[in-house]
Symmetry: C2
Subunit: 198 residues, 2 copies
């Protein structure tokens, strides 16, 4: 049963394409937007179109940016001897938020997944290797701690090790604030394995 | 700590204004949209702007529509002796989906809420009373079963009763598929109160 207004129906349909947004949620958004002013809705719409018009990928690290090279690659205060390798651009966002890391990044654009037909040639692996010829002394592999991410990390470590560059993997363990009781065995095993002396 | 791309940051900010969308979710949407084609993102943006450009309120029932009167008010197959009174336009959508009701609607535009300063004059009550002078024989009050909705229903019933029109309230009881065990006492009490003979 379709709603009587096609415009409303179309907006619900378009919004429900977003990840994690079902029809009910999209409907709620639409009726919320109908109550907003025209300029507010236009502002939202423009900010979305701008994403595709203004945002590009940095030619060095493949992070999302508006200027090439990106602010991180062009940043004068960044430590150019370290590169943190991540799967996606939003991982850069998450790491930058911590304020802990001051080095450069390299966005692979995914993880190795032979079942999905994603091999090293589909990721920005070659570009990473080219960057290692510069002043880089350390690589931190921050791919996700799942099967694909671990496989990618292992692949990269084998590739980079002979180049005489320090290579490390981010720690896997119990998340801060979590309960030991509810942690799964694999995480717990990694937490013990990765223990550090006081 | 802000993200390096202002366009990305702006889109996250705009999306997180939507009800039930937090920063993390907005971020996920943005990175999803960055992977879509330009035409797909434009389609979404246009459908949202169209909401404000094309969708108006029906001058009879105040439902959202693109043509005035709306398709329901103008519909030749609708039963013009019945009016179902709802709070918001999305309630019409929910009721239309059932396919059970063939009468007309009247959207109040909210519910009575003295604490928020919403009285009968802020709702489309006067317009409803004017419609009752026509062929209307029955009114179904389908405001939400919460304090404001019940107060509005009671107010309307007192207002309409002297006009010699049948007036009813939608049934409140245990939702279909729910468990008696988990129903709250008020709902359960209403379910018993509203019992029907076989």
């Amino acid at each position: 049963m379709k709603y009587s207004s096609e415009t409303v129906e179309k907006a619900i349909h378009e919004l429900s394409k977003l990840p994690g947004i079902g029809r009910k949620m999209a409907q709620r958004h639409v009726f919320f937007l109908l109550k907003q002013s025209e300029s507010q809705v236009k502002q939202l719409a423009e900010s979305l179109v701008d994403l595709k018009l203004k945002v590009i990928h940095c030619s060095i690290c493949f992070n999302v940016t508006e200027s090439d090279p990106c602010k991180i690659c062009a940043g004068e205060t960044r430590d150019r001897t370290m590169i943190c390798v991540v799967e996606e651009a939003n991982d850069v966002l998450a790491l930058e938020k911590t304020g802990e890391y001051k080095g450069l990044y390299h966005v692979l654009g995914g993880a190795l997944s032979p079942l999905d037909g994603i091999g090293p040639d589909n990721l920005h692996v070659r570009e990473l290797l080219l960057r290692l010829e510069e002043a880089v002394q350390e690589i931190i592999i921050a791919t996700n701690p799942n099967t694909e991410g671990e496989a990618t990390a292992l692949y990269l470590s084998k590739l980079i090790k002979p180049m005489n560059i320090r290579i490390s993997r981010i720690a896997r363990g119990i998340p801060v604030g979590a309960d030991l009781e509810y942690a799964d065995e694999v995480t717990l095993a990694r937490a013990i394995e990765g223990r550090r002396e006081y």
